[in-house]
Amino acid sequence: MSVYIIDLGSQYTHVIWRTIRDLGFDAQIKQKNTNIKDFANVEAIILSGGPGSASITDMGVAKEILEQIKTGESNYPILGVCLGHQYIAHFFGGAIDKGKSAEYGISKIIIDNENDLFKEIPKEFDAWVSHFDEIKKLPAGFISLAHSKDCKIEAMKSNDKRIYGVQFHPEVWHTENGEKILENFLKFV
């Protein structure tokens, strides 16, 4: 299975790549200025985290991909991580703003809605987060899957498309079950 990771400038883009490679998938990192034609044979896409703001930063090919999905021209399964998660919400009409409190380091994630992404994952687990911005309002057609004490939307999915987002970082070693969450995304979509 061929997976492209669109690099939005995260410290952890390469860790996503490494984790997915170790899970046995064929993973490649693509920069934002990659031509969308290169995505022709891709089976899943991950949007990395990154610095900056989901509503201001130019997202390059990530934006073009979401536009194709919106018009129904393509149907890639997508997982957004941190900034990628926020950008998906922003793109589909949700609202992003600073949280009441920032979240850096450890955070307890509480799963509210079991689904394919959290299959066989405990209801509560420790994850690592690194953000101040958060999703304030979900876009139409999306539901929240998990929350933490300081962040209402730690994970979301689309009701009718194969689009997911997680605010925490499943790729880093300190996140419990993180590798399993990435594996779930790649196996079940």
């Binding site: 690099d7 939005l8 400038g9 995260s10 410290q11 952890y12 883009t13 390469h14 860790v15 490494r18 490679r21 170790d22 899970l23 046995g24 920069q31 934002k32 990154g50 610095p51 920032a102 850096y104 380091g105 450890i106 690592w128 690194s130 970082h169 880093v172 070693w173 300190h174």
Partner: protein, 318 residues
């Protein structure tokens, strides 16, 4: 499919042969696991065309140069030690800003190599650069967290071409390769040590006095933590060290006022250095460390323990 060290070694040797061909190479050794593994791989690929160099910057830990030379000799790697401590201290005089420090050190390293290289006629510089080094150094949309001396600290124009066989790996994978190469646990499990050495653990200006204090303090922290983990009192942290702050604080010693240096002890748990949490070291061990430091290093008046995770902090303080 976990990382396959054996396969990596085979592929890497082929790639290095192809890249370097009949040319000569010099390898910048720090004594850590990354550069030693890089040197061993290149040594296997090009044999006698490799020369290994250890630059003594004067910023190393106690006896480090000697230990490195001996450890590598046992592996059959001959190391030339260059004493360059005067140049480094001179360049760092008056420099306070951490990024500037890192860049000066990176530049100076290359100059030392290029001076050395004149007699060697080498075309390639082998470095033990791993993932976090170039990731944190910024580029391709990533913010610069810190310029690792072997990436962001390199001068724009370099005569030597770079060869970095471990670029896509992380520390735990390099350790697996070290084991597969038979480098021994002393080396494969050695704690990470930053390229700019103690310079990034002297917060503010680097002076001989502060480096000397820090060297003594570092030795105590390493001994106490290693002893405690050998005795099973704690899990061995991923990295453990001391830093010296640019502030003095007031104390009382033998009924006399003291106004002395402040040091920070840091110990973290991690797998790959990309995320880390502070090690939950029991108070009695912290007390042992603090008592020894303030008794044995008389210039230090106060000891702090760093309880910040990464993120939001980084492992090193600069």
């Amino acid at each position: 499919m976990p990382f396959d060290a054996k396969k990596f070694i085979e592929n890497s040797i082929l790639k290095i042969k192809e890249l370097i061909g009949p040319e000569k190479a010099i390898c910048a050794l720090s004594g850590g696991v990354d550069s030693t593994v890089a040197a061993t791989l290149v040594g296997k690929a090009i044999g006698k065309n490799l020369t290994c160099v250890f630059v003594d910057t004067g910023l190393m830990r106690e006896n480090e140069g000697k230990q490195v030379g001996e450890a590598l000799k046992r592996l059959g790697i001959e190391v030339k030690i260059i004493d360059a401590h005067k140049r480094f201290f001179q360049k760092l005089k008056g420099i306070v800003e951490p990024e500037e420090k890192r860049k000066i050190i990176g530049n100076e390293f290359i100059k030392v190599f290029e001076d050395f290289e004149k007699g060697e006629n080498a075309k390639f510089l082998i470095q033990g650069t791993i993932g976090p080094d170039w990731i944190e150094s910024g580029g391709e949309g990533r913010d610069t967290i810190k310029s690792h001396h072997n990436v962001g600290g390199l001068p724009k124009e370099m005569k030597l071409k770079l060869c970095e066989p471990l670029r896509d790996l992380y520390k735990h994978e390099v350790r697996m390769i070290a084991k597969e190469l038979g480098l021994g646990e002393d080396l494969s499990e050695r704690q990470p040590f930053p390229g700019p050495a103690l310079a990034v653990r002297v917060i503010g200006e680097v002076t001989q006095e502060k480096v000397d204090i820090l060297r003594k303090t570092t030795k105590i922290v390493e001994e106490e933590i290693e002893n405690a983990s050998k005795k099973g009192e704690i899990e061995k942290p991923w990295q453990y060290f001391a830093a010296i702050l640019p502030v003095k604080t007031v104390g009382v010693r033998g009924d006399e006022r003291a106004y002395q240096h402040t040091v920070v002890v840091r110990a973290v748990r991690s797998l790959d250095g990309m995320t880390a949490n502070f090690s939950p070291i029991p108070h009695k061990i912290l007390e042992r460390i603090s008592s020894r430091i303030t008794n044995e290093v008389c210039e230090v008046g106060r000891v702090f323990y760093d309880i910040t995770n990464k993120p939001p902090a980084t492992v090193e303080m600069e």
